[in-house]
């Protein structure tokens, strides 16, 4: 299944994060301080992510992030 080309006009990349109900898989790089942890997405970009909604967000763990908030812990490998 090959994706069609992304729309050229899009102002925020391919998705609107609210409308696409987007969840971005990330890996936790640093322990949370004040509820915020440093995480990296699949492209290696780093983000400061609120992790207070998870029971635990251990370094090396994988999380699903929406609008800079981790909403779920993920098993296994990275995926959308």
């Amino acid at each position: 299944m090959t994706p069609s080309p992304a729309p050229s006009y899009a102002c925020t990349g391919e998705h609107c994060i609210t409308c696409s109900d987007e969840g971005v898989p990330m890996i936790v790089l640093g322990a949370a301080r004040g509820g915020l942890a440093l995480c990296a997405d699949q492209e290696g970009r780093t983000h400061t992510v609120e992790t207070t909604l998870l029971e635990a967000a251990p370094v090396g763990g994988r999380v699903l992030v929406h609008a800079d908030v981790a909403i779920a812990a993920l098993p296994g490998e990275l995926g959308r």
């Binding site: 299944m1 609210t18 800079d68």
Partner: protein
């Protein structure tokens, strides 16, 4: 990328498509609504509907929060953005949604300080960097996004960031689904449920759909195979006479959702008695506002907003598209007066909107072999 590749494998996709074919009754027409705009986008991006038999029709639901924002709400945002000293922040697609006198992007071009952010936390950061300015965040989105706004408001309150506030247009998914199911002009056989909304609220809130309306709902992930698999599960329920909520996306979605997130939502927000949805009208208890405890951060109380209901442009048929009554190309202005560059209706704004998805992926009409 093993995880993702597995869910985009073409040969697996064809195998699931064959299973779908084996489950459909010839001569029966099936209408399945994908609630979420992310599913709509994936379906057209990967050509998922090309793998379906002609008698399985996908109908696009109201799950794109940009698409359902009424013009009056955009006008309220613009009225705040135009106030002197205000930095108005919102997600990118929200900037292009037309109000009665243009969009936030046009207000920016006319001099208002409107800035795109990727999260409410970004907006709070701007507030901390600009203590002499009022920073307002235009909060939109379903239950996936609302926790992010809620946590940011909690943080703003705890840290005493007094120049930050929020105009809240968060919406909830269950009331519009109930409104759609009550709609006499819509016949549906089942639903593909929104995967990441369900990460927060769980699958349980959708149980009213089989219980009260006798339709199956399958919570689904966003990869092409997730969507095809969820269609198999819906068709299998129909074939076996079962009507249940099933969770295809169990690798991410707990059946009861994220309890911490639900607790935060309950603390920071309360339900509005009514909220207007573009094309769907007023729906009871379908929108969120800030709770009494967070009223000091409510931009609608801090600033004067018109709060006026504005009728959609006459040519706009977004309501029918959002209800799945017509396909985007059946709207008279689709691809002519209404394009992603110059949208008349909101369904053409976000790439998750049904009209934009059809336009971008060249779906001007759909003819397939009948099984």
């Amino acid at each position: 990328m093993k995880f993702v590749d597995e869910f985009r494998d073409a040969s697996l996709g064809r195998a699931v498509a064959a299973e779908i074919l084996s489950l459909v009754e010839p001569g029966r027409h099936y209408k399945v609504m994908e609630v979420c705009g992310g599913h709509t986008h994936s379906i057209y991006k990967y050509g998922v509907d090309d793998l379906l038999p002609a008698n399985v029709e996908l109908v696009h639901g109201p799950g794109c929060p940009v698409c359902v924002i009424p013009m009056g709400r955009v006008d309220d945002g613009i009225a705040i953005a135009r106030q002197p000293g205000v930095i108005f922040t919102c997600f990118g697609d929200m900037m292009r949604v037309p109000g009665s006198e243009g969009s936030l992007l046009e207000a920016k071009a006319a001099g208002a300080d409107v800035r795109m952010v990727y999260s409410p936390l970004d907006a709070l950061r701007i507030a901390k960097q600009n203590p002499d300015r009022e920073v307002v965040f235009f909060a939109i989105g379903f239950e996936t996004t609302a926790p992010s706004t809620a946590l940011t408001l909690k943080r703003a309150k705890a840290e005493g960031v007094a120049n930050f506030s929020c105009i809240c247009s968060h919406v909830t998914i269950v009331p519009p689904l109930r409104a759609l199911l009550e709609s006499p002009d819509l016949r549906l056989d089942g639903f593909i449920g929104p995967g990441h909304v369900a990460t927060v609220v769980g699958a349980r809130p959708f149980e009213f759909i089989p219980a009260d309306y006798g339709k199956p709902l399958v919570v689904a992930g966003f990869e092409p195979l997730d969507i095809l698999q969820s269609i198999v599960m819906i068709l299998r329920q129909l074939a076996e006479g079962r009507r249940e909520v099933e969770n295809q996306y169990a690798r991410v979605v707990p059946y009861d959702g994220n309890l911490r997130a639900l607790e935060v939502l309950g603390e920071v927000f309360e339900l509005r008695p009514h909220f207007e949805w573009r094309g769907l009208g007023f729906i009871s208890h379908s929108g969120l506002r800030l709770s009494e405890a967070y009223a000091e951060l409510d931009a609608e109380l801090r600033f004067e907003v018109p709060g006026v209901r504005v009728a959609d442009p006459k040519a706009c048929q977004c309501g029918e598209v959002l209800k799945g009554v017509i396909k985007p190309w059946e709207c008279k202005v689709f691809g002519t007066a209404c394009t992603p560059e110059r949208p008349i209706g909101t369904c053409m704004v976000s790439s998750e909107g049904a009209c934009a998805a059809y336009y971008n992926f060249g779906r001007f009409a759909r003819e397939r072999e009948v099984v």
